[in-house]
Symmetry: C2
């Protein structure tokens, strides 16, 4: 059975030695002293290792069951959810006004990774609640906030997001769910939504559905979509639960993974709904939730990769098979451990260098969100908006690939369910799909985000990379192993952007045919930047006589691997992009 240990030390390194959070000038960050964050992370790690991780395989095996519309979660989920609630883990970065602890988003992200890694299916129940609460916080009336947020902060009530219908996912303009105004400010919602994660379950007293629907008589297409709050139980004026609303779960889906999370078909039959935000501005309100969800999903890619890697590493150290070609390493045993073999090393280094880079990227990105919100910094907001599809698309693609690599380390034992490695792969697979399939992320990046505000944000990113290189190129070892490769990769990325600028206007397909490659090369450059930043921090620690020489030397060696073996992928992506759209679009659809 797999186990999970939260990477507290690595997270602390990123927060304090790389990002230097307390000195960053973001309101609330001054309180994030290393002792404090360390204590929070240790506690979080404990509940993850001891409570959530042991339920992961159980959730996979048992799945959720539906009987007469009632959904039962796997054995132990409810008790664990109570424990998570009681520990205050669901309220970490929610506003104090509604019962939260008011910590910055970066702390929610740091802890969120651990929870996702320990048990993705379980953590989704609280993750979706957080997203729904954020949408109410951003767009709700004071009354709506007071009605829903305290209970959602504590996860006494959970939340959902309802977008997809059987005939439309990405193209929400086609949606059929209707909202009929009742003249009293409420609406009657009718229609069917599918793939609703945590749509129905037995772990919360109420479920607050956020539902996209079209108000009768409104504009056609996406411009006629509004967002509604549709609680499972209506809430009385005194906050107590009232009548059951007209919403029910018709079916739960059999899925490849995340069996512990109930993926529901939700039927709305004249359910009472309350408008959230403005009429016909539903997409804007939904995107508050969606952007948060996309970052959370990117984090799932990292989290599953780490959970899988930790187990693959321990298997590689334990399993005796074959001999080191350069000389026996375990003379008293019948064979050497797998980890002596170069190809196993390659796989483990791929995983390790991705995971640590991605962790830095997530936390650095969370810092931008805090800066955007707490400092009302438009540049930070623009940058994280640009990077959101990369965090989602790149980290989930790579994260999935890493779970496949981790599984591979086990040989045949990776394929049987007994060892639990298959679950990481099956669970990680969904992250490439939900909250906008990764192809849609690439389209968002190239078709929308790149040119946003006149291309200001992508220029800011390049300036940031350039600035970092310039500032540090006096350090010879940093320059050769980190800055030079980063510069080359960044040049590839700029060349790709240039290709899009020169060709995209006259032939959009020439740019869009390269969108997926662009998303990946951008992701690599981001991780390259993170590795350069981490290398700098570790170099500084070593030259200032740190007591933890091994940690920092390992960090530098891991970074060198990324720069030498992973980052050069930008060049292949550029070759593909430069080949244009013609070979991609050459065939008539009928001739495939």
């Amino acid at each position: 059975m797999p186990s999970y240990t939260a990477p507290v030390k690595d997270t602390q390194f990123i927060l304090h030695e790389v990002l230097k959070v307390t000195a960053s000038g973001i309101p609330g960050y001054a309180d994030l002293e290393a002792d404090f964050t360390g204590a929070v992370l240790e506690e979080a790690g404990k509940i993850c290792s001891e409570v959530l991780a042991p339920l992961n395989a159980i959730g996979d095996r048992e799945g959720c069951q539906i009987e007469n519309g009632i959904v039962r979660t796997p054995t132990g989920f409810k008790a664990a959810f109570d424990q998570v609630r009681e520990g205050g883990w669901t309220a970490l970065d929610m506003p104090e006004e509604f019962g939260g602890q008011g910590l910055p988003h970066i702390m929610g992200t740091a802890v969120g990774e651990f929870f996702s890694a320990a048990n993705q299916a379980f953590t989704m129940y609280q993750g979706l609640t957080h997203g729904a609460a954020s949408a109410i916080l951003a767009h709700g009336t004071q009354d709506q906030k007071e009605t829903y947020l305290p209970k959602m902060t504590s996860c006494e009530w959970t939340g959902t997001m309802n977008l997809t219908e059987p005939h439309c996912g990405t193209d929400l303009g086609m949606m059929r769910t209707k909202a009929m105004p009742q003249g009293d400010g409420t609406y009657k919602i009718s229609g069917q939504k599918i793939f609703i994660s945590a749509g129905e379950h037995d772990m919360a007293g109420n479920i607050i559905h956020l539902v996209l629907a079209k108000i009768a008589g409104g504009p056609e297409g996406i411009k006629g979509v509004s967002l509604f709050i549709v609680p499972k139980f209506l809430v009385n004026a005194d906050g107590s639960l009232g009548a059951r609303n007209g919403v029910s779960c018709g079916k739960i889906e059999e899925k490849m993974g995340i069996h512990g999370n109930s993926t529901c078909v939700m039927n709305y039959d004249e359910a009472t709904g309350f408008l959230l935000g403005e009429e016909h501005k539903g997409m804007r309100a939904m995107f508050t939730m969606m952007n948060e969800a996309r970052l959370g999903v990117g984090m799932q890619g990292l989290a599953q990769a780490d959970a899988a890697y930790q187990n693959a590493l321990s298997y590689a150290k334990d399993r005796l098979q074959g001999r080191d070609v350069t000389g026996v390493k375990n003379p008293n045993g019948p064979a050497d451990p797998l980890i002596v073999h170069p190809d196993i090393r390659r796989s483990l280094m791929d995983q390790k260098s991705f995971i640590e880079g991605a962790r830095a990227f997530m936390l650095w990105g969370a810092g931008k969100i805090d800066r955007a919100q707490r400092n009302e910094d438009a540049a930070a907001d623009g940058l994280i908006s640009l990077l959101t599809p990369i965090i989602k698309g790149f980290l989930t693609d790579e994260g999935y690939e890493m779970t496949v690599k981790a599984q591979q380390v086990y040989g045949g034992h990776g394929y049987i369910e007994e060892w639990g490695m298959s679950q990481f792969t099956r669970d990680a697979r969904i992250a490439m799909i939900y909250e906008g399939a990764n192809g849609v992320q690439a389209l968002d990046l190239v078709g929308r985000k790149l040119a946003q505000d006149g291309g200001k944000h992508v220029m800011a990113f390049f300036d940031l990379v350039k600035g970092f290189i310039k500032e540090n190129e006096g350090d010879e070892s940093l320059k050769k192993d980190f800055l030079d490769p980063l510069k080359a990769a960044s040049k590839d990325l700029q060349a790709a952007g240039m290709f899009f600028m020169q060709n995209g206007m006259k032939n959009p397909n020439a740019a869009l045919a390269g969108s997926y490659d662009f998303m990946h090369m951008f992701g690599h450059v981001c991780l390259g930047l993170m590795w350069a930043m981490m290398a700098k921090a570790s170099s500084e620690a070593l030259s200032s006589g740190t007591s933890d020489v091994t940690f920092h030397e390992t960090k530098l060696a891991t970074g060198r691997y990324y720069m030498a073996r992973r980052l050069p992928a930008t060049s292949l992506h550029l070759t593909r992009i430069n080949s244009g759209g013609d070979t991609v679009m050459a065939l008539d659809a009928a001739n495939f």
Copy 2:
């Protein structure tokens, strides 16, 4: 529910227009007229579409069940197996002497792809039987051949291969299963084997296990391993079934996929075994089977990719979502089909160009095997021996990736089991693992095959590529789109080989750290060569006024995509290889 249509036309194109089989001078090939092969392939395609493919999802859902040591296969499997047997499909390329049809291996390969694509779990029962029969054919006594081969040819009896034990898979020298000589030429076999595909089931009258074991008192390690025939029921002198042998299935494994195939723990308790081949030469005998199995597994990669692709393609044509950015394509519908979107095209072209290239590679390789066997051609034998790990490793890695891409085309519908796309991914996953995990294939390629016979075979491969380029570079369009990229990729591959030669002797890790990349770049060059050969055939057909202009123009366009977008991966692989082993091996195992 997914469907499957055998790609008869494409296979015919490869056999007759690319490989020109009837003119190839291989004994038996002259009979492979297009009418004949077309009729065989059509018939094979029919049983695959109508009988095997519909059982694929059932097999996945039901799996195999064990009760009191008796294993029940999924509903419909037994009846379908009877139908396959009666159609003579299991006997296609077996020798006529033992009831086979004596067709060349290339025909078995062509048909085998269809069977694997339609239902991998099902087809493994006959595939393993074929492999076991080949080992008996190559190493058995006349008496053993007469006893087992007729029934195995018809699959009245099925076969298995028993290598893995709980503590050893790759490193078979550690094996514990013992063989005690009984003085009468027989042995008593005792021990436990795991991951035995088709180890026990209800579809055949007898199961002929080929079991690796160590004869008591023999040499230590891999040099003391012998191969034994251990039938489930002993066979009387008159060919009738005798006593039940001391072999039983202790458990069947829960797996990620191929649920329709019973993966068994087999317990041998003083079971009567008959030596196959020589004492202590078991590995050699097993490798007859293993090499055949590796090629068959490579084919599974291609087959699952094609089955998944066919369904993804039809979904991409049917599913309406979004609009073509260059102008509405389906003005009467609410949206355009997915296939208008460039990123969906990219995914479909990745799949299509891999599948058609891989199919040519498989059939071309099968031709080499026929040439090696039927013409006793040592050069062909050396070449296919070199390419076997590439066919296994590269085609299964890429094949798996393609099933993931096909699944992705479905968005959320790809993740739920209802649509069947998850099964292709889960089934394809095993092919990267069994018959030697792909890392072991890479090790075999770089550590053994590359330098075999003084590097003669790899030089022959380069000569072949060079010769093809030289012969055809007068054709300008072929030169630019196909030969130049092939030349560049082949140069990358040679440079990598050079790096290994210069560094591998003094530091084996420098070479082995690049083995996986080398396997992939070699695979790309092979597919590049195939695409150049196919482009030549299609160019010739077009200039000689073929009636099927669309087929050949599509073929050329698909090839151009591969050359422009897939083949340049060789350059990234070379960069990684040239970075050496230092970054890969830098960490102390304890510091990961």
